[in-house]
Symmetry: C2
Subunit: 210 residues, 2 copies
Amino acid sequence: MSELIEKLNWRYATKRMNGQVVPAETLDNILQAINLAPSSVGLQPYNVLVIGNKDVKEKIYNIANKQPQILESSHVLVFAAWEKVTAESIAKYIQLIASTRDIRVESLSAFHNSINGGILSRTEEVNFQWAARQAYIGLGHALVAAATEQVDATPMEGFDAAALDELLGLKEKGLRSVVIMTLGYRDNQNDPLVRAKKVRRPHEEFFIKI
Amino acid sequence: MSELIEKLNWRYATKRMNGQVVPAETLDNILQAINLAPSSVGLQPYNVLVIGNKDVKEKIYNIANKQPQILESSHVLVFAAWEKVTAESIAKYIQLIASTRDIRVESLSAFHNSINGGILSRTEEVNFQWAARQAYIGLGHALVAAATEQVDATPMEGFDAAALDELLGLKEKGLRSVVIMTLGYRDNQNDPLVRAKKVRRPHEEFFIKI
């Protein structure tokens, strides 16, 4: 078994955490892994809120089915997708490519036009759903990165998204929360799932080989 | 820099591959990482097609903007979300938990009812979008796993989904393709992006710390 598979078997959806804080450097590795996640055309149409503040976590707890790991976590990450994808945000991205690679913006005009054509012709709702999917790639990266750092991570969709957007002022930022994740350390005494066997669909049913 | 971050910096959206085949054991590690990806309530409402067949890859190439890495890849993975989530598939999952953990199905009835209540009250389209997002967590796992195995991987949304569903007989299986990924090895000579600097939004703009 590879080391990665061992780590992924170690991880589980932690229901109780012990309050221990994730060291800054470790947290930073997890965040870097999210930022390094690829996205469609490279746009990264989402943001990630990193919440260590106790009072804010308490408010999130109240709008997320009072799941105890929110209070017991070190940090709560909120993945928030862009509500709209605008011509300005695409132009800004093209500018970022040009400055990163030290090339002229004009040399990217075919790429720029093709992104504009593909994205701006779609409805806002389609683009939001698309942006949300990109955020889930980031979530996938976060989960693996946390596991390799031996940090527990619990993804959660069970929260009042409108209330969370209100709490964090996401609407003003052009964002909508799509999924959250707690980071911390499992409470070996109190988490009933800590020793539960992992349940996964058998490979022969999950994979179709052609 | 952690080893994982090094690997994630190594990876990029490979545009040209060299045709080399990914060894079976390496491929299996990547597939295992996908199967180990968490999903909402643990249902894993998607399947992954693993396509090494040359003829099938050629047909995919023709409906995916003739992107050369499809032909030059070792395998093409197709992530296909469940078109509908049925009471039967939920019941089957509950049965899987019971048999995996050697507990009685009846002991899971509260959980079973809560999943039924949450999922079966939503429209098919909402459930499909939700299933697609879960598939993207799997995609995120696949990307990181490939990078740790030093296998190149290119996720792609640019394909004719209806044509791909038709080609692979997905409708009959209750599936709809949502994203594909090529696995293989970069062609150092012919890929113009092989030495391009990675472009990512700056941390201070991508992350919002609270």
